[in-house]
């Protein structure tokens, strides 16, 4: 009876999302961790096969509740590629601005979750408050706080309302003004460094082997970012940089996230400056009830806030997708990497490591 089996989740304050990790523990060290997903499995891809191409939009955004926007985008990109639809210039810019806002909101959510894991209520509350400011922008733009369904094949649903750009800039300035506060209470806090440095270490070789993407691999120094590698929307129109760190531990991942947020905000300012003032925001598509898409398959990918997001989509020439399979970043992070790097760590660091990898459970289960 040396080993103890401890359940971390699904009903656990340290678990963000409906996910469970079974820890085999000796003393307070983890011998083996077994990820146990499936609490959120709805059979999305099966359900998509029963719905028409346009009906699927409300469905796909619910794959990831933290950041539905990139899922909308990837599905639109897949449909556009299969149907051969082009996005107008302004539509591309609006998509980029919108997606970067979503990225900041998502990272703030991640910051909430992470600081919560460390018992850092104060920062958690601030981060959630600032995320809400961005959600207010979304609400004005799209009418919904969480599931926006703003991106559609051929562009976006509607143009920015008047003065919306100023509102974005104002909101981002409000948030940006608090960055020194965040730094002094959280990122530069000595105890924060103590808690995170050297935890959940993932070196370059293992990261590659286990399919790490996003900030998990950027924290080992590689500028692996789909927005740069295979630019979509308007990411190739402005200058920006991919922030990286060297350590590969939870600390580096967190700082990568912080730098990414700041970089995104700068990018939004540049995009707003460069955005064409006039022009359509979407290309017209056929009647959604009769819309058939030619036979074929496609693989598209984009960079979500958690890493490379992909979609393999097959059409048999009918009204409905024949098969769609999402490659979500949390899949490898939450199942392969998490299981591997949790072994040998402290019980106290499970939530810590999980949130530093930013594992979002619904994305795994789909």
């Amino acid at each position: 009876m040396r080993e103890l089996e401890l359940y971390y989740g699904p009903q656990h304050l340290g678990m963000v999302g409906n996910f469970s990790i079974t820890l085999n523990v000796e003393g307070d060290r983890i011998k083996k961790a077994t990820a146990n997903p499936g609490y959120l499995h709805r059979g999305f891809e099966k359900l998509m096969e029963c719905r028409t191409w346009m009906q699927n939009f409300p469905l796909v955004c619910r794959i990831n509740v933290v950041e539905p926007d990139h899922i909308e985008l990837i599905y639109s990109m897949g449909v556009e590629k299969l149907a051969g639809i082009e996005v107008p210039e302004k539509g591309k810019y609006i998509r980029s601005i919108y997606l970067e806002l979503a990225r900041v909101a998502s990272h703030l959510f991640g910051l909430w979750a992470y600081s919560n894991m460390l018992g850092f209520d104060t920062v958690a509350n601030w981060a959630m408050y600032h995320r809400d400011l961005i959600l207010d922008l979304f609400e004005e733009l799209t009418g919904a706080r969480v599931y926006h369904i703003y991106i559609r094949p051929g562009g976006v649903r509607r143009d920015f309302p008047d003065g919306f750009e100023d509102k974005i800039i104002e909101t981002l300035h409000t948030i940006g003004g608090k960055i020194p506060d965040y730094n002094s209470t959280f990122f530069d806090n000595r105890l924060f460094k103590k808690r995170t440095k050297g935890i959940g270490k993932l070196d370059r070789e293992n990261a590659k082997k286990m399919g790490a993407v996003g900030h998990a691999i950027r924290a080992t120094g590689m500028k692996y970012d789909i927005r740069k590698i295979e630019p979509y929307a308007a990411y190739d129109q402005v200058e920006w940089d991919v922030p990286t760190r060297k350590g590969g531990d939870a600390y580096s991942r967190l700082l990568t996230i912080r730098d990414e947020m700041i970089e995104s905000v700068h990018m939004i300012f540049k995009l707003i400056n460069k955005m064409p003032k006039k022009g359509t925001v979407y290309t017209k598509t056929p009647n959604p009830f009769k819309w058939k898409i030619p036979e074929g398959d496609a693989y598209v990918r984009c960079e979500s806030s958690r890493g490379e997001l992909g979609l393999y989509i097959v059409s048999d020439g009918g009204k409905k997708p024949y098969r769609a399979h999402f490659r979500t970043p949390s899949y490898s992070h939450g199942l392969t990497i998490l299981e591997n790097i949790l072994a040998g760590e402290d019980i106290a660091d499970v939530g810590n490591i999980m949130m530093s990898l930013y594992v979002v459970a619904p994305e795994i289960d789909r």
Partner: protein, 180 residues
Amino acid sequence: MDRNKLIKWIKTPAKMGNKYSLHAVYFCTGCGIIEIPPTITTRWDAERFGVTPAATPRQANLFLITGYVSLKTLKSIIRTYEQMPEPKYTVGFGSCPINGGMYWDSYNTIKHLDKYIPVDGWIAGCMPRPEAIFIAVTHLWKMIDNDMADGYKKYRNNYDQYRANQEKVLGSLDWPPLFK
């Protein structure tokens, strides 16, 4: 003094406690959980109403079913619900627990949550806003005042039926029946 009045007078503090101190089980059953952090943090501050997350079901008296319930989750929900001390209140959050919502044809989510555990109130919508949670809480207060939030009694009285329904979808459960 009237005997009933006296009993009511004695019972009132407990009712007041139940009303203004709702400790919610922290269980992210579905996508509705995304609106819980805003609710309990700075913007909406549910602690004003006495609503705070509790660490374990033993310490809680409010169960927010936040979103669709897959079969695997249902098992955990039943276990968690049974571990909560009475009186306990359940609120279904979002349209999915009401009738399946947009997953009405999914093979892995249950459609009517109230067939498996009692639900005292529903918040419709996908996604309901944080304000809706507060409306639900105030409604729950009224129900507690009028002794209408009696799902736990219903569960106790009709336990056989609930258990039969649970076993119908989940096969056998890992734990013995709660009430005999």
